[in-house]
Subunit: 389 residues, 2 copies
């Protein structure tokens, strides 16, 4: 089975870009990814491309993968659009890994995009609703923030997680994002501001919610033969895991955990031959503050129910034992849905190579990305390690 | 690399089913596929599922893959939605093959669905338009029939392809579909009726166009270990190929050919270690009559420009040298977009096993499926052979 390496990774700035289209954003991310490769990268060498997008709004809905790769100059490159809601490009990454492992590609592209800020708030709420369960959930008036509000209520009630612990997710991630020039909301926030902000869906307030953003990201993968000709700072994908669960929260066994994260993480750890203790840092899917706290538990960073205390202990701060969301996460960096999964890889790639600039945290050798679709109907987890196989 | 076998395949009847939902249709196809397996098939053994759908209309748009697999009882099974327009489940099939080859799955499900008949003609035209190029093509008034009408004009002008040859595609495929109880338009048509029917987009008339349909299909794949425990009538996928091209027709080098079909076929033939002469029968993507004629040429069944004569020679009739669309094809069997690619596999599976009932054509050992997204922005080609590796 071919080993898979990340040889380049980049994202656009995430934010509101009324003068850009989904095509220009994807092209910008792709071209930056090509520039990030150490050696001379031939774009004609890309055998397969996987592009994640939810397809928010009224843009190209059929063939939206080939529609962006052609604009990036890859009109002859085999391309597939992948959609697993907010895990779309987390899933695209996995498919690119499988294409190389299966031997149909020596070099593969995984990426994603979304344009969300050109819609009214009502339209955005509609489109995000479709990432929840449509037939019963959304039709009964459930918003997407409402889905995670139910989870937060359950977690607070079962484990005593506090309002302040939720807000500390925002404070930490904004502190990280303030150092990231690509962040949508690249400013710090105080605990007081986070605790006291406007309610969105009780108990979640504005600072518990990530923004809706425009943006794109792209990751270039290669087998060892190609990677060794391009770089002497290898970053290897050693574990890939994906799992699904009921789409609608009302059909789950638990509201205070995302079982598909546990299953995907177990698969990724098995694949990599490691355990959660080996993960030194992670980019996790903090679409809402409670999501990051549940991720700590479901990824095995702490015991079930202890996510709030784990956060409060400082373990996941940038100088803690296991920094989480050094990029700022979805909360501060932004969440252009289809761009988010491969966007996480950008931070891991730079941190493992010691190239994260002012965000760099010492010498890191093993990181993880965690990408959640909807409220956990699909989850992709990947493990990255520094060095050759 | 693990060899990949088809151990089960089924589809719903294609047609207009106002009392069914996309979930009940998919479940019906999946359960029929399970029943089609020779041995006792454990649905818990499915490691990965890939589901193709364009997502026509206003249904579950995020996580529409997991939304149907959960309804089919596979709520714990890793699931990814794939969208390459009309090649969505042709692409899903390829991904399921890669998952087994890459070793992350021993057993995989590929399938697809679409519900199209609950929309007004105007909405259908809109949604089909999104499979063409949206920003310039559709916005300038191009319909999807219009896209293929341009191709037909070009082919007639460059190669002398005739009105009657186009109509003979319909006559042949309806004759086949009349023997298929799952066909949407399961009736025969005369050459006179086909030639003289109402114009849709000149030169294409009603009988040059496939219907819009509701339906679902599902294919169960397994590696050799599992397959050998389930059946002694093996059908192996020996070749997978996929390619892309510019989404918009106005950006192509040629209008009288689909280059992505040529590229995907070449990749599939290389993968299988065969050539077009080895293909005994095929299910090709005849969304419009001209598409089947171009497919003959692009798949290498005849020389460029000779598709019309090749058809007229009777070569692709059910008792010809290389029967094409024994199922009735998209033209007669119907075209529920996401269900079409894996729907083609159903016919190939039964023909290779000698179980196609009144449609069975002698002893066949090598067949092909050809799935086109849009006007060729993405194409998937697969080669199937009878017997163990």
């Amino acid at each position: 089975m071919a080993d898979v390496y990340v040889v380049g990774a980049a994202q656009t700035k995430f934010g509101a870009f009324p003068d850009e289209s989904y095509r220009t954003l994807f092209t910008e991310a792709f071209e930056s990814a090509v520039e990030s490769v150490d050696g001379e990268f031939d774009t004609d060498s890309i055998d397969e491309a996987y592009v994640g997008t939810l397809g928010v709004g009224g843009r190209q809905l059929g063939l939206s993968g080939p529609a962006v790769t052609e604009h990036a100059g890859l009109d002859g490159t085999t391309c597939t659009r992948v959609e697993n809601a907010c895990a779309s490009s987390g899933t695209a990454l996995r498919l690119a890994v499988l294409a190389i492992r299966a031997g149909v590609a020596d070099v593969a592209l995984a990426g994603g995009f979304e344009v969300m800020t050109d819609m009214s708030a009502d339209r955005t709420r509609y489109w995000l609703g479709v990432s929840g369960e449509t037939e019963w959930g959304r039709m009964s008036g459930m918003t997407f923030a409402g889905v995670y509000a139910h989870m937060a209520h359950a977690h607070m009630s079962e484990y005593g997680t506090t309002r302040e612990q939720l807000s500390r997710v925002a404070v930490k991630n904004h502190a990280n994002g303030a150092m990231n020039p690509n962040a949508h909301l690249g400013f710090e926030c105080s605990l007081e501001d986070a605790v006291n902000s406007t309610s969105v869906a009780d108990p979640l307030n504005l600072y518990d919610c990530c923004p809706t953003s425009d943006g794109a990201s792209a990751v270039l993968l290669a087998n060892e033969d190609v990677a060794s000709s391009l770089t002497d700072k290898p970053v290897r994908i050693t574990g890939t895991g994906q799992a699904s669960d009921r789409v609608g929260l009302f059909q789950r066994q638990t509201l205070s955990s995302i079982p598909a994260t546990r299953d995907a993480a177990e698969a990724a750890y098995d694949d990599a031959g490691i355990g959660p203790d080996d993960i030194e840092f992670a980019e996790v899917h903090d679409c809402f503050s409670i999501a990051e706290i549940m991720a700590y538990e479901d990824l095995g960073f702490c015991d079930r129910g202890e996510g709030g205390q784990y956060l409060e202990s400082g373990a996941t701060e940038r100088h803690g034992e296991r920094p989480v969301n050094l990029s700022g996460g979805l909360k501060s960096k932004g969440h252009p849905i289809g761009a988010t999964g491969t966007g996480q890889v950008v931070e891991v790639f730079h941190q493992l190579r010691g190239e994260a600039g002012q965000r760099q945290v010492g010498n890191l050798s093993c990181g993880l990305t965690h990408s959640v679709g909807g409220s956990g109907g699909a989850v992709a987890v990947h493990v990255f390690e520094e060095g050759w196989a």
